[in-house]
């Protein structure tokens, strides 16, 4: 768990013709095999940071080290093989005319042998539950289905690190859980390092570690538990709090006795009952 796979040191970035820095002196490490959630409001620098990690932008200041190499224009292609990225809107990522062609595209580009390619395409689509759609056009799928195909396309390349940039934001809750379970399985069984950029704190709650960005700076980092103790401060950061935490606040406002902000709904109901209704 302690091998560093990505090391970001003092990174700043400014978009052309923008007055403020999109990223301001951000430093952080990502460890092999961990599930790291990066959370922040729109415009906090999350997506800019994501683009730094596979050379879509290069820092104005500071360095990005991936697998021990400082990312630059020469090695960006070999680094993109290590780090697969799934974006928010899968339409921007489709190239194939059928689902299986699309998933095969990256493999073909990397010269993977035909037989192996077929196996991997099928296996990847199986992992995201999309084998029934092999020959359909990606553009005719629903938003959530598209997103699963996009994830399959990245998994097929067997990267060491997968970066999900709001990649489940268009899925319904069940679909989201399915896809997240898929990624989790790869994380647990195959040691895939996962960086998930999200403002869904429920999703961040399942991470090993959470980093909070605010206005381009690293605001705080810690375990999900420690992050949720920030309570109403999270709202000021533009983040949504998990339902049980929100419900705890509202119940306390309504005059009910509670000893703490609960993260778990069952525990909240239990305490709500014991302290307020048990005669």
């Amino acid at each position: 768990m302690n091998t560093i796979v990505i090391s970001i040191k003092g990174v700043s970035y400014q978009y052309p013709e923008q007055e403020s820095l999109a990223l301001n002196n951000v430093s952080l490490d990502v460890y092999k095999g961990e599930w790291l959630a990066i959370v922040g409001h729109n415009g906090s620098g999350k997506s800019t940071l994501a683009k730094m990690l596979n050379g879509l932008h290069y820092p104005s200041k500071g360095t990005v080290m991936i697998g021990g190499y400082a990312l630059n224009e020469e090695n960006v292609w070999s680094i993109r093989e290590k780090l697969g990225m799934v974006f928010q809107n899968p339409d921007n990522q489709f190239v194939g005319t059928t689902v299986q062609d699309d998933v095969a595209f990256g493999l073909e580009n990397n010269g993977v042998e035909h037989g192996v390619m077929q196996e991997r395409v099928f296996a990847s689509l199986e992992k995201v539950g999309m084998t029934a759609f092999l020959n359909q056009e990606p553009h005719h799928l629903s938003g959530g289905q598209k997103q699963r195909v996009a994830i399959a396309g990245v998994i097929a390349l067997r990267p060491d690190i997968i970066l999900l940039d709001e990649a489940t934001s268009m899925l319904d809750p069940l679909g989201r859980e399915e896809v997240m379970n898929t990624v989790r399985e790869l994380n647990e069984k195959e040691g895939l390092t996962v960086i998930s950029i999200t403002h869904d704190l429920e999703e961040a709650a399942k991470a090993d570690r959470v980093i909070v960005l605010n206005e381009g700076r690293l605001y705080t980092e810690g375990t999900p538990q420690s992050i949720f103790q920030l309570d109403r401060e999270l709202l000021n950061l533009g983040l949504g709090v998990p339902f049980a935490v929100q419900m705890s606040q509202l119940l306390a406002d309504a005059g009910l006795q509670l000893s703490q902000r609960h993260f778990n709904e069952e525990e909240l109901v239990s305490e709500l009952w014991t302290l307020n209704f048990k005669m």
Binding site: H41, Q136, S142, Q145, M170, P173
Partner: protein, 287 residues
């Protein structure tokens, strides 16, 4: 303006080897001035239904009444422009459709296409940015220099500038942070309540459907599974889970609490605020 769908059926790529059914036997009513949510699992046909509401897709069977027009299967339809003006669709990630040099030009594009003069279009652009809660000086900026949330508002302003009677919203908050999401949703409710717009929200957020809708239509495998008021729909949780949908977090929490209480509360609560108040009231009665 009322919209009524009657036995609407549609198949993608009809007459080709790629043909597959999208929706069938879809009938429901969107009453003028109401807020109707269409919910369903991924691939349930929500987006296909949406594209029928301003005749981007024509039914292969059945018919759709849109105001005084009737669009029926198998007929050539002309002059759809007026329908497209009156039923404004905000697609998923509408900011991808921004293209002009300035926000003002971008917002004016729609109305001018529909024959509004440049001067009037500019007046409408000003009104529209106010409606979506953006500062006036944004009109002179490039839409591409704005944040994601601002771009989304500009795109919505472009639809509002056409002065539609019905606003159709396809996952309008996808990709926005929680604060941005809440702001945008409150903006739509404001437009519905104060400007009398009919709102149709296509979403998979049960929370949004519970909080904002007057009426809910549940789609499942291309068909209408149920329609009703939020309280009717969420009272029957089993019917929702049977089609792969979640119940709102508030309703789930209420059920957990009712299990302890040993009896149901007086009503199904649709928002956490309502539920907290209800539980607070109960405590007052007991002690």
């Amino acid at each position: 303006m009322d919209i009524k769908l009657q036995d609407v059926e549609y198949r993608y790529a009809a007459g080709t080897p790629f043909e597959r059914p999208a929706i069938a036997d879809v009938s429901f009513h969107i009453p003028s001035g109401q807020y109707v949510a269409i919910i369903g699992h991924t691939g349930s046909g929500k987006s296909t239904v949406l594209q029928h509401l301003n005749v981007l897709l024509k039914p292969l069977k059945g018919e759709i009444e849109i105001g005084s027009r009737t669009i029926a299967a198998g007929r050539k339809e002309k002059n759809l422009k007026e329908i497209r003006r009156r039923v404004g669709i905000v697609f998923q990630f509408p900011e991808h459709q921004l293209f002009e040099e300035t926000v003002e030009k971008d917002i004016c594009f729609g109305p001018m296409n529909f024959g509004v003069t440049e001067n009037d279009a500019k007046k409408r652009a000003l009104e529209a940015v106010r409606l979506v809660g953006l500062p006036e000086d944004i009109l002179k900026k490039s839409p591409f220099d704005l944040s994601g949330g601002q771009m989304r508002r500009v795109a919505i302003a472009g639809v509002l500038a056409m002065k539609p009677d019905v606003l159709v919203l396809d996952e309008p908050t996808a990709g926005l942070d929680p604060r941005g999401r809440q702001d945008i949703m409150n903006m739509f409710t404001g437009l519905q309540k104060t400007n009398g717009l009919t709102c149709v929200l296509v979403t998979h957020s049960m929370e949004d459907a519970a909080r904002y809708a007057d009426k809910i239509v549940i789609m499942h495998k291309g068909r209408v599974h149920r329609t009703g008021t939020p309280r009717d729909i969420f009272r029957d949780a089993d019917s929702l889970t049977s089609v792969g949908l979640d119940i709102p977090e508030t309703v789930r929490f209420q059920q957990l609490f009712e299990k302890r209480l040993g009896r149901p509360l007086e009503k199904v609560c649709l928002t956490p605020e309502e539920l907290a108040a209800e539980i607070g009231k109960l405590r007052g009665e007991i002690s």
